[in-house]
């Protein structure tokens, strides 16, 4: 630990900021670190797919239809001779993009609305809360399917659908956090020195509700990855022939007796990525909210 040496010669430990303390607690959690490592691994796969991928994920080969894993194709080939490893690597892009973009949509819509509901209160809060209740009354996947169906099947629309369906959780969380924070003494002090309402909300309330939002966003990415895979599995997400883990599983279920490897690798990838985000989210929650532990 870094220490300052004052004039009397006694070393006093340097005071760490709350974020630095949280980071230290996070680093000590083995599960979270393993989760982070796997997430980074998939991010690298997605970013460098054109260089890492052994084959073109769309290239078909009629002489290599449903080949079992071997030296030429480590994960085997699919029903039209495409390399499964190449499609798994490229599929990471669709899953990660869907996870990050749809949660960004939820945050971009949910946080300002929740902030307004909690901070302004009154009829606006009542209206927003009832609408949030209504959205939460529609089960997440059913609402995402319905939105994707009405918007039309595509990866972009699936991301919008997942983002909208996940928004009420962020509205409710932000509102609850704002209600807890706005009665604190430092908010009263900020008001007393003449800060505007907007400035108080953005400069004083918002920074103090970020921690639970980070935790929820991490866990929501895990849910969004599964949701994208589910929509693609149903044919409402990434459209063929573009690679996506969900659509690969949809095809694989028809060949499970002849080519089980077609189902194993994309499913394992979804599982590992979701597990990693869940481990990281749990670790972040423990690190940012020590009372939870």
């Amino acid at each position: 630990m870094a220490a300052a040496i004052p004039a009397n010669g006694i070393a006093v430990p340097r005071e760490l900021s709350p974020w630095q303390r949280a980071l230290r607690r996070l680093v000590r959690r083995r599960g979270a670190m393993v989760g982070l490592a796997v997430v980074v691994f998939f991010v690298v796969l997605a970013l460098f797919a054109p260089w890492i991928s052994p084959y073109d994920p769309l290239a078909t080969s009629w002489s290599a239809v449903r080949k079992a894993p071997g030296a030429a194709h480590y994960f085997g080939t699919d029903e039209i001779g495409r390399d499964v490893l190449a499609r798994v690597i490229w599929g990471a892009r669709a899953s990660l993009m869907a996870g990050v973009i749809s949660v960004s949509i939820s945050l971009a819509i949910g946080v300002p609305i929740g902030l307004a509901a909690g901070y302004i209160g009154g009829w606006l809060d009542m209206l927003i809360s009832r609408f949030t209740d209504a959205m939460l009354a529609c089960p997440f996947l059913i609402l995402a399917i319905a939105l994707a169906a009405f918007l039309g099947p595509s990866l972009a629309n699936a991301m919008i659908a997942i983002g909208i369906a996940a928004t009420p959780i962020f509205i409710r969380l932000t509102r609850a956090q704002v209600l807890a924070v706005k009665v604190e003494d430092y908010i009263e002090a900020a008001r007393a020195v003449g800060n505007s309402q907007l400035r108080i909300a953005l400069r004083h309330v918002f920074p103090n509700i970020v921690a639970p939002l980070i935790v929820q966003a991490t866990l929501a990415i895990a849910a969004a990855v599964i949701a994208e895979a589910s929509l693609s599995f149903l044919g409402l997400g990434q459209q063929p022939p573009a690679p996506s883990w969900g659509s690969m599983l949809n095809t694989a279920k028809n060949y499970v007796d002849q080519a089980p490897w077609m189902a194993v690798w994309p499913g394992l990838s979804i599982f590992l990525l979701v597990l990693s985000f869940n481990l990281l989210g749990d670790g972040l929650r423990d690190a940012l909210d020590p009372r939870h532990v």
């Binding site: 209740d133 009354a137 089960p139 399917i145 319905a146 599995f233 189902a263 869940n278």
Partner: protein, 313 residues
């Protein structure tokens, strides 16, 4: 209790009102003329004309909503463009299959989830606890359609013990019905078992460290009696809410499970409707699911108040 019920029922009305606006709003997402979009790929002029009249598409939006809501309140969710039958009739027809699947999944989830939660709390920080936590993480992270494919591979293709897909009514052959439903029910209940396990563990840990449990132990009661009779009873109160809401979640999770195992239920109805562009069926299913979910929420609140009268508020 009566006042609580009235208050709680009154709170449902605005929620359902907003649900109706949300679901009516789905139609507005359709690009171009909604009547043409909803008429399916054939775009039969008669169907287009029927839809235009049915939804009063020439009228202003609030008026259209009023007509739609009036129909819904009279149980008229419209007719399926594809199957040419009332949507409400289709839902009622498919629902028993999904309810059977969801109840079986719930039973499996309760048996596995609550037992694992109790064992995990009683043996806190031992290998048993770690194993239960790993099970919970596995359950929460596994996509149920992948688990379904893996189980088909193992139990239907490799071992030949269970049918890979299909559905047999319990009134035709109960044994065949259970054989066809056990895998889908396990797949559907797996994630919920993990959620139940985590909640039961956390509630049990809290209760096991409370004063009255310490007193029960100090009186020399057998540990099994302390855990099962004294601690579990109180720990299960929050699980009631979770159980009721879980049933709603299982209804929606059934969409994927029914697709993997080709079960002709409520979930398959919505997926088929999506691909047939049968938007009225999609809308009807969402409205129905939301209403069930709100009702289950109410049931959970009433059950909680019956167990713990202090919660009347």
């Amino acid at each position: 209790m009566f006042r609580f019920l009235v208050r709680r029922l009154a709170a449902i009305v605005p929620t359902l009102f907003f649900v109706s606006i949300l679901i009516f709003g789905l139609q507005q997402l359709l690009p171009g003329d909604p009547a043409i979009a909803m008429a399916g790929e054939e775009r039969d002029p008669n169907v287009v004309a029927y839809l235009r009249g049915k939804f009063h598409l020439d009228e202003p939006l609030p008026v259209r909503y009023g007509y739609w809501l009036k129909g819904v309140l009279h149980g008229d969710l419209g007719d399926s463009v594809r199957i040419q039958r009332p949507v409400s009739e289709l839902i009622v027809e498919k629902l028993p299959v999904t309810i059977e699947l969801a109840l079986l999944a719930m039973t499996i989830a309760i048996v596995i989830g609550i037992s694992a939660g109790i064992v995990s709390a009683v043996f806190k920080d031992t290998p048993v606890d770690y194993a239960a936590n790993v099970f919970a993480l596995w359950g929460l992270s596994t996509p149920n359609f992948w688990l379904g494919i893996l189980l088909i591979l193992l139990f239907a293709v490799k071992l030949g013990w269970l049918p890979a897909s299909g559905y047999v009514s319990p009134f035709e052959d109960l044994r065949a019905n259970l054989a066809s439903m056990i895998m889908p029910a396990f797949v559907l209940g797996n994630a919920f078992a993990a959620v139940l396990m985590r909640h039961t563990r956390s509630a049990m840990l809290q209760v096991l460290s409370s004063d009255y449990v310490r007193t029960a132990r100090a009186k020399g009661l057998d540990e099994r009696v302390v855990v099962l009779r004294h601690a579990l009873r109180n720990a299960l109160t929050p699980v009631i809410t979770l159980g009721a809401l879980g049933l709603g979640e299982l209804l929606s999770g059934a969409v994927l499970t029914e697709q993997v195992f080709s079960i002709p239920g409520f979930g398959k109805l919505i997926v088929d409707a999506v691909f047939n562009r049968d938007y009225l069926v999609v809308q009807g299913v969402v409205l129905f699911t939301a209403t069930v979910y709100v009702t289950l929420n109410l049931v959970a609140d009433i059950a909680n108040v019956l167990v713990n009268p202090r919660m009347r508020g």
